[in-house]
């Protein structure tokens, strides 16, 4: 199953280290703007748009962060 690891920028290093520690160093990762919690609906839509574009690129072209 295609998988994309999604996280906000301050947590990218932790996400990458965790993936590596679990033997999943090849997992594609998409990094979006922080924060995700406690934001307004319009900002949620912006985050989703930001993520969608990158996720589709990873899934179709294999380009991850």
């Amino acid at each position: 199953m295609p998988v994309v690891l999604l996280c906000t920028k301050p947590f990218a290093a932790l996400a990458r280290a965790t993936a590596f520690g679990l033997g999943l160093e090849q997992v594609p990762m998409v990094v979006i703007t922080h924060p995700l919690a406690g934001i307004h609906d319009t900002d949620v839509a912006d985050r989703a748009a930001e993520a969608y574009e990158q996720v589709m690129r990873v899934l179709t072209q294999g380009e991850g962060a």
Binding site: P10, F11, A13, L14, A17, T18, F20, G21, L22, G38
Partner: protein, 372 residues
Amino acid sequence: MSAPKLSADLLAVEDDLEVINALYHARGWTDGLPIIPPTPERVRRMLAWTDRDPESVLLAVPPRRGEATVETVAIAAVMAGAPPEAMPLLITAVEALGDPAFNLFGVMATTYPSGVLMIANGPLAEECGMHGGSGALGPGWRANATIGRAIRLLLINTGGGEPGKLDKSTLGHGGRFMYTLAENEQESPWEPFHVTRGLRPEESAVTILPAAAPHNVNDHYSASAEGILTMLLGTLLSVGSNNFFYDSEVVVFLSPDHAAVVARDGWTRADVQRAIFERGFLPMQCWSAENIHGRFRDKYPEQYATADAATTRIPLVRAPDRVLVVVAGGAGRHSATASSIGISRAVTRQVTRRDGRPAYSLSEFKPGGADA
């Protein structure tokens, strides 16, 4: 006994404490305080106080999943300045970190300010110098300070939990350097804490829990168990506590003076636990509207979707045994409480010898001892 073979890589560096510390700090191997250089000689002296093989793997420490071995524990203990006779308790604590109930991955990856609170009980705690009396969670007590610090250094260096980088605790607290104490068994009116966790008084144990900073309970006036309970509850019931959101433990560090008042009224430890469980509620309206939805209505719709926020009570803990009552501190009318991360459970582990038999005395680990 021949000197144990070490596996760690050797680092050649100028024999200067300041140079060594600058190097260790630059590489992210310290907690920000100076370390004792872990030379092979010092590591071997530490290993002399355990019957475990240096290469024994205790756990893989997330997020990097580096192996914590008996040798790496000894290295962290040297760096922290721990007395070698602390090794049996330290190894026990590290083994406890590997219990799935503790959820070390969650603890290491969280933004929550979780120090590894370690409560030691039994004869080995006293023999290795752990302190449960006056100022036990503060400075001045070598075994407390260094065992806790060794745990943090181990997590940094095997798990990669370098603060600000892979360790994402938003603010942290002083207990992330060390959060280690013994129970004040001598001044407790009740059985030792580890007995409530299924062990015998003559056995030794450590209990660990990822906990936030202690919150003081200043109570100079209550002369009854009911009065002290009121003050404890008033301190525990804080909307910022994770315990309302998850099923986990809270800690009550009950000072000997307060414990004596509570026991004088005939209350047992179990009575305190039950009272906090039964009376520990806040009305849902205490939280912000967004939290009422995010934490309660959306998460547990069967219970809270249409519940009246003014009258619906949110419990602090889900059962009496989620209240860990530890008698600690010295003279004075100050107790303390601490909330936990919530996504972990407290783990108690007995101090044992390599074959799993209980250790009753530090002498069983003494270098060159008859049974060592």
